[in-house]
Amino acid sequence: MAEVTMVAALNRALRDALADDPRTLVLGEDVGALGGVFRVTEGLQDEFGPERVLDTPIAEAGIAGAAVGLAIAGWRPIVEMQFDGFSYPALDQVISHLAKYRYRTKGRVAMPVVIRIPYGGGIRGKEHHGESPETYYAHTAGLKVVTPSGALDAYRLLALAIADPDPVIFLEPKARYWSKEYGEMTSDGPGIGRAQVVREGDACAIVVYGPTVHRALEASATLAGEGVEVLVLDLRSLVPLDVDALADVVRRTGRVVVAHEAPRTLGFGAEIAARVMEEAFDYLEAPVIRVAGYDTPYPPASLEQRWLPTAERIAAAVRIAVAY
């Protein structure tokens, strides 16, 4: 066991997959000698060669489309999109083909493809470097969408995503890339589609994923000081969504705050609110409250902390829910 960053854990998951399954390969922009702009692929090209770890031209649609073709040829490509804001040229390939190929071919041609995308803000990035595109993918039937909140779960979820028979959009909260956890990296434990309670409490449930999990925990600590014990549910997986876990926390707390960085309108919080009503309306003691990015483009670095769902905003929402 050792202390690892999320970057190191992701790197290890990729390395283990490349070593264990000769049909896997990694492709993307600058993933070779540089090791990726966030160094997630560091050392992999040296170890596995330029045929298994491919530096591609700057052509996101072409990369995603080539991944579809590689899957048809029986490979299991793991694609790196360099940044959230640069993943959009590939959306046509992802929506029109990656998500639909298995359906179109009646299961004859599987798409065991992972597309890794660093996402979210909070790193003082420039425009196009702080986006939260999860709704686009979660709304596209045929894709799985997962996002870890910490290093050890990043290892587990990426290992499981690579082994998954369906295409997985793997969203990496870049603000958490350098966060550390101590423990063993293993794919054992909760699978894709299982949410996890990361803090117990009975006053309110905060439903979060990826970059908002640690902010919810931070808010929980503040609230505990006020005598309010909240439960924090890390979704881990937006598709499949763990509706049983969601219903369970509503039954246990009666109050839900959902927080994400993506803009509020049709952000994943809308889905959470709807599912909560479908699954456990009778248990609600207060309306579901959404804490989200505002319905504006992502702001410049100097204003991002005014835009993001900070621990303070999450705590304020919990106070409203509890007082309702």
Partner: protein, 351 residues
């Protein structure tokens, strides 16, 4: 074959069926006859599909009349290890590839997307409608085949309109960089729905290959021998590890874009008449008869067989029952989300 202001395409047969190039393309007598048989069958089936659509048995249908040589000649050059990435007008290529036309046509009947044939069994990818998006798939497949050490080649069909899409450029560029074993076969049929090729590009599509670092060649797409020879050379080059080739086959879409289209709104009858005189099947039939490669009895047998096959295809198509309701849900995921399973049970009334 006139290409105003453009490079002359490779030709072996003149429009009147006389040989003006080397007809020794490496095909034996049986295979030379097979080219005619396939083209005759393809056209007869194309006509039948138009009728089936008018009779309500197909939804929308995109006819390929006029493009039989471009498709049959190119697909005929492929081996069993190779893989075709079609767009949506390649029924003639599918026939040449051995895809069951009934299964193929279930796409146009609305039974299932993509054509319910097994793409892996036939080396023929699902019908692809979003313009040019199949081209990166061909490159990825070709890269995979190359990494597997296979001497196999991808053949990707697209049109003059698709050449304007970014996916064409990205696919060609990736293929060049990766020296991927892929042949990009552009059927320049003159029209992208209502927009003429001259409004798609100010240049010549085949010339773009140079910019991507591989050869391009323009061929008379209504000359089945020339299409076969040019494609065969490109495929051999790819299999030998020498990378991609861009082939621009100059042909003509004699019919509408689809059964929902009305070409009288945008093109002149005289143009159609001019291309009718350049008909690919008539040209090849004349040459084959003149050289003794086939006789009238063979030609007649092709037509008789086409009638018989098309009747079978029609019967097979219209007698297929509607797919089961569970098909709505059955294939979206290998491992479906619990929420979708619940919807399935609710919709199908078994939960």
């Amino acid at each position: 074959m006139s290409v105003p202001g453009g490079a002359a395409p490779v030709q072996i047969l003149a429009p009147d069926g006389t040989a003006i190039g080397d007809t020794g393309v490496g095909l034996g007598e049986d295979n030379l006859r097979e080219l005619l048989r396939l083209m005759v069958l393809a056209r007869r089936l194309d006509d039948e599909c138009m009728a089936l659509q008018r009779q309500g048995e197909l939804t929308v249908y995109p006819p390929f009349r006029g493009q039989e040589a471009a498709q049959v000649g190119s697909a005929f050059a492929l081996g069993s290890e190779d893989f075709v990435f079609p767009s949506f007008r390649e029924l003639a290529a599918a026939i040449a590839r051995g895809v069951d036309p009934v299964e193929y046509l279930h796409y146009h009947r609305g039974t299932w997307h993509g054509g319910p044939y097994d793409p892996l069994a036939h080396g023929f990818a699902p019908i692809c409608v979003p313009t040019a998006t199949q081209l990166p798939h061909a490159v990825g497949w070709a890269l995979g085949a190359k990494l597997d050490g296979k001497a196999a080649c991808a053949l990707a069909y697209f049109g003059d309109g698709a050449a304007s899409e970014g996916d064409f450029h990205e696919a060609a560029n990736l293929a060049g960089v990766w020296r991927a074993p892929v042949v990009f076969l552009c059927q320049n049929n003159g029209w992208a729905i209502s927009v003429p090729a001259g409004l798609q590009t100010a240049g010549e599509i085949w010339r773009r290959a140079e910019g991507y670092g591989f050869p391009g060649v323009r061929v008379d797409g209504n000359d089945v021998l020339a299409v076969y020879a040019v494609t065969n050379t490109a495929i051999e080059r790819a299999r030998a590890g020498d990378g991609p080739t861009l082939v621009e086959a100059m042909t003509y879409r004699m019919g509408p874009h689809t059964t929902a289209d009305d070409p009288t709104r945008y093109r002149e009858e005289a143009e159609l008449e001019r291309w009718t005189r350049l008909d690919p099947i008539e040209r090849y039939r004349r040459w084959l008869l003149a050289t003794g490669g086939a006789d009238d009895a063979f030609v007649k047998s092709c037509e008789t067989e086409a009638e018989r096959r098309v009747a079978e295809i029609r019967a097979g198509l219209v007698s297929t029952p509607a797919p089961p309701s569970d098909d709505v849900f059955a294939w979206a995921f290998a491992d479906p989300p619990q929420t979708l399973e619940r919807d399935r049970k609710e919709a199908l009334g078994d939960g």
